[in-house]
Symmetry: C2
Subunit: 143 residues, 2 copies
DNA sequence: TCTTGACCTCAAGTCGACTTGAAGTCGCAC
DNA sequence: GTGCGACTTCAAGTCGACTTGAGGTCAAGA
């Protein structure tokens, strides 16, 4: 079985080694042993990391993801949970879509101030009631 | 001009008073004076709060929003910035849409383990490369 | 007049996901 | 056998947007 050095895993998975250590501490991944001090990983860790990345993208917290990993055996990913998450995403998507459309309109609108644009105002009135969701927070990953 | 008590503003805007104080400290809003100790607000603050809420939803940070507010005069909301934000939202929306579809599929898929479902695997392979964005973080507001 | 309760200030705490720093240890090339 | 650079640990720091807590003040009702 191929053993990967932490540096290689980091490089292939596109995350810093510190993140791998952090994930290990959280119980999300496990190293296969050490060569000297250095962690060695089984190639399967890459799949796990992909699963973690995917889960994060879908909006699961690291703790939630950790719960899906059962020691030995395939990850227990409840279909209901997936479906619920899909629903949640769907709601966000619709809200964000509406927001995007209004932003586009406001950007193109000829009203002297956005506050005088009816479309923008409608958006604004909606915002008060908290009808819109909190934003798509962008990956702090990209630095 | 109608003067609103902080409690009333909080209630109407749907945010705790502590948030109003915090926003004031950040220079996002201003109170109109005090009655005793208590802040009094001009009714216009509600529009401002709506604008802030909207900005946050669109993914602007409080600092970015603060920059849009010029002392006296309508908020300077650059159309280019709006358009760029719309683009950004659009990208997120497309990515989240793909994710939602795959989650739905995986939820319905008959493969014994998600890892054996081709659609899920495709998703997984995409995730490694960081092709997908970070998630729509839901409002901590809802408690 | 006294009490009450809603506000006030200022500092510190929270949450999640990591990152950073200091000080130490090892494998490997020379 | 020695130097070096990449790893190691552990604690603490960071970021954004607020919240919480302690101790204080004040307007209004009884």
């Amino acid at each position: 079985m191929t053993e990967l050095d932490i540096a290689e895993v980091a490089q292939r998975a596109g995350v810093p080694a510190s993140t791998l250590r952090f994930y290990e501490e959280k119980g999300l991944i496990a190293s296969n042993g050490r060569r000297g001090l250095r962690r060695q990983y089984d190639a399967g860790v890459l799949e796990r990391l992909a699963l973690i990345a995917l889960g994060r993208t879908a909006g699961f917290s690291l703790d939630e993801i950790a719960q899906m990993f059962v020691p030995d055996g395939p990850p227990r990913i409840d279909r209901q949970v997936l479906a619920a998450k899909a629903e949640e995403l769907d709601r966000s998507i619709r809200e964000l879509g509406a927001l995007r459309d209004s932003l586009r309109h406001a950007a193109a609108c000829s009203a002297p101030s956005h506050l005088e644009c009816p479309t923008f105002r409608r958006l604004l009135d909606g915002a008060v009631s908290g009808a819109v969701a909190r934003p798509a927070k962008r990956a702090p990953r990209s630095r």
